[in-house]
């Protein structure tokens, strides 16, 4: 496995990615609007946002898994020197599953219900590593064992419905890891799971990142999941990144009113009963296009005049990026 990407720049470099869903006779829907981020080898990057923020579409666009029709994609996605968006489909198929693998939210709907787990895992090995027969089965068994599935020999013959939710997610992770990908994209990998199983899966992902050096893009709506796992966090709102920072910085000192608002509105397990919650007014559905200023402005307590006139740009300063005219300041706890 070559790790030549280390010196040649980031492993994954997404530049100004735009995804628009086109509709006949109606204006396009810009689901992702100029998203840029990089992922280094061995780094864990979190994309955080609510439904409709464009986090999943971003990952699907990177993997080129969006349908050809009805979608316009702009920008560049550099992976190890290649622009994934312009690669021939044939070449992309080689990369997908081998160099970049993906784990989806709902393990039941991403596994084929009528094919045993073993065949689904060996399929990846056959396609990308040219393993056949016993060699493939042995490898598949080892993969299942590695992700913590007890009795892998028996599980290989079983169908997805015979596995529990956590077990299925482990099987999916095993498939994703089959070819030792250099980049793993996990889209809400624990959202469908119970907390105790979620803890197991997150622990597994962390262990894999540590042991194999694979880079991980973790997409989630759960700030708690991000807090314990990732290195860098990108907070998305309405198709744009509004704030990016190292996780310690972001949580200790959120600057974007949306990030601050999210943190203040989530009940924390370690907060005493009755600690007040401060919800963000409105809902993500109250979208306004970025062309008319900041999309978050209608819900923002920090709104000032420029916010509704011109859209803020993402500015970088001291290792963090922020898209806001009137950010929270470090000592300002209660915005006016």
């Amino acid at each position: 496995m070559s790790v030549s990407g280390v010196d040649a720049g980031p492993l994954l470099d997404v530049r100004d990615l735009k995804v628009a869903f086109t509709r006949k006779g109606r204006p396009d829907v810009l689901a992702v609007d100029g998203v840029s981020f990089t992922v280094e080898t061995g780094e864990t990057v979190g994309l955080v946002g609510e439904s409709g923020s464009g986090k999943s579409v971003t990952s699907l666009a990177v993997m080129r898994l969006l349908p050809e029709r009805g979608v316009r994609i702009g920008g560049e996605v550099h992976f190890d020197g290649d622009d994934l968006l312009t690669l021939p489909a044939e070449r992309m198929r080689d990369i997908r599953g081998k160099d970049i693998a993906m784990v989806f939210q709902d393990p039941m709907s991403s596994l084929n219900p009528v094919v045993p787990i073993g065949i689904q895992v060996t399929e990846v090995l056959k396609r990308h590593q040219d393993l056949r027969g016993d060699a493939a089965t042995t490898e598949a068994r080892e993969l299942l064992a590695r992700v913590g599935i007890p009795d892998p020999t028996r599980r290989l013959k079983e169908y997805p419905h015979q596995l529990s939710g956590g077990m299925r997610q482990r099987a999916l992770i095993a498939m994703a890891l089959a070819c030792q990908p250099r980049l793993l994209i996990a889209d809400e990998p624990t959202t469908a799971l119970d907390v105790t199983i979620q803890a197991q899966i997150l622990e597994l992902l962390k262990e894999l990142v540590r042991d194999t050096g694979t880079a991980l893009v973790l997409i989630t709506h759960d700030l708690g999941v991000v807090a314990g796992v990732v290195d860098t966090v990108h907070v998305m709102y309405s198709g744009k990144v509004v704030e990016s920072a190292q996780r310690h910085e972001l949580f200790a000192d959120p600057r974007h009113p949306y990030t601050g608002g999210l943190l203040a509105s989530v009940p924390r397990l370690d907060a005493p009963r009755g600690a007040s919650l401060h919800p963000i007014p409105g809902s993500p559905a109250d979208l306004r296009p970025w062309s008319q200023g900041c999309a978050f402005a209608p819900r923002c307590a920090n709104q000032i005049e420029p916010c509704v006139v011109e859209q803020p740009v993402l500015e970088e300063s001291l290792g963090r990026s922020l898209r806001c005219y009137n950010p929270l300041t470090a000592d300002e706890e209660v915005p006016a």
Binding site: G165, T196, E249, F251, L262, P279, E315
Partner: protein, 407 residues
């Protein structure tokens, strides 16, 4: 505990606008006072409740070959005016318990007495009338509202069903006002609203008949994170204004800690631990509660990096064939060679108002029995090397951003 302190101080830095602190304090005090005086007045009392679903087999003759013991012997008291939280993982029976209380599912055994009346023995028509006083809020507001029914119709239907005109019920505009929706919402249809607003409609429907008890089954889990707090606050506000009693069923422990006075933790059809909310979270006795708490991610990297985590192995056993003895023994990191496998522990009082179903609760609490080493993920193991690029959290000088040019 230093982590708790860290969390405390950290929380204060992310506070966003709200009511002035003083007003908040008096409100809190009132709430506490109100709760104390009602402590002894039990509105809902559940004793030995069982709900078993038959498993049938055979094509011509249905033979019962077993049963899924969804709820298997639950005792629970809900004081008037308080909030009781039911937490547990999927399949633990919390939803079935909630539905059995309203007799939306017929209990197999046990009694449910509501305001002194045993509702398990009520005739259908009497039960229907009784439901005016006990309402439910469902998880998915889209699925629980008829897409072809206007909001006005949704909110007046309960009255029509119970043959009430005016008097004992609230008008549509009053209801909408209570849940924070504009009066113009009355003529609109569910699809015109966002998820949070739909849940508000569901709540308005539940309070339309001025019930005493509301069972809220996962009231916020289908909502976006930024919306959840709105609905949680609304529920609390309505409780204060209308004197409601809540049973809140949720898998999100943080939400339950926030909203509930008393929390009951369920595992495989039974309650394993029950205590006042803060007591349960600060000093859990039962191994399952401990594991559950340690599994909940906290949105604070400092806490996440320093806390110890107890990982459970495996999955929930099938409720059709629950393990013998303590139901949790197959996954318990504290399992002992005696008693755990063959003797089902009963709920015992460990502290005032704190009951635990574990044979070894005292020894575990005293630290005499420790968890299997393999089950504990030490903070140090999970910790990555200290991030060098990151300035110290809370250091304001390193992270102050100037206003963008031109503003």
């Amino acid at each position: 505990m230093s982590t708790a302190e860290a969390a405390e101080t950290d929380r204060s830095t992310v506070e966003v606008p709200g009511e002035p602190a003083a007003a908040e304090a008096t409100r809190d005090e009132q709430v506490r006072h109100r709760r104390e005086i009602r402590q002894e007045d039990v509105l809902l009392s559940i004793r030995g409740l069982k709900v078993h679903f038959p498993i049938k087999s055979g094509i011509v003759v249905d033979r019962q070959v077993g049963s899924v013991k969804a709820v298997d012997g639950v005792d629970l008291d809900v004081p008037r005016g308080s909030t009781v939280g039911l937490v547990g993982e999927s399949g633990c029976g919390k939803t079935t318990l909630g539905r059995a209380v309203l007799r939306l599912i017929e209990p197999t055994a046990g009694t449910v007495s509501f305001d002194g009346i045993d509702i398990a023995g009520l005739a259908d028509e009497d039960m229907r009338r009784m439901r005016r006083r006990m309402q439910m809020i469902f998880q998915d507001p889209m699925a629980s509202l008829d897409p072809r029914q206007s909001v006005e119709s949704v909110l007046t239907e309960p009255r029509r069903a119970h043959g009430i005109e005016g008097g004992q019920s609230k008008g549509v505009s009053e209801l909408l006002d209570l849940v924070g929706l504009p009066a113009s919402a009355a003529s609109r249809y569910p699809h015109e609203f966002s998820g949070g607003q739909r849940q508000r409609i569901g709540i308005a429907r539940a309070i339309a008949l001025e019930p005493d008890l509301i069972i809220a089954d996962e009231p916020v889990s289908a909502l976006d994170v930024s919306i959840q707090a709105q609905v949680v606050n609304l529920l609390e506000e309505l409780q204060d204004r209308l004197g409601l009693t809540y049973v809140v069923i949720a898998h999100d422990l943080a939400v339950v800690r926030h909203i509930a006075d008393v929390v009951a933790v369920m595992y495989l059809g039974g309650i394993v631990e029950q205590a006042a909310s803060d007591a349960l979270y600060t000093a859990p006795y039962h191994p399952y509660t401990k594991a559950l708490m340690s599994a909940v991610p906290i949105p604070d990297p400092v806490v996440e990096d320093t806390r110890e985590r107890i990982l459970l192995t495996g999955d929930l056993p099938s409720p059709a064939n629950p393990p013998s003895g303590c139901r949790f023994h197959t996954r318990c990191p504290y399992r002992q060679p005696t008693r755990c496998d063959d003797e089902r522990p009963a709920l015992r009082d460990m502290a005032p108002g704190h009951t635990v179903a574990c044979h070894w609760a005292e020894q575990i609490h005293a630290g005499v029995i420790t968890p299997r080493a393999s089950a504990v993920v030490e903070a140090a193991v999970r910790d990555e090397p200290p991030p060098t690029r990151v300035p110290l959290p809370g250091d304001p000088t390193t992270t102050t951003l100037g206003p963008p040019p031109g503003v």
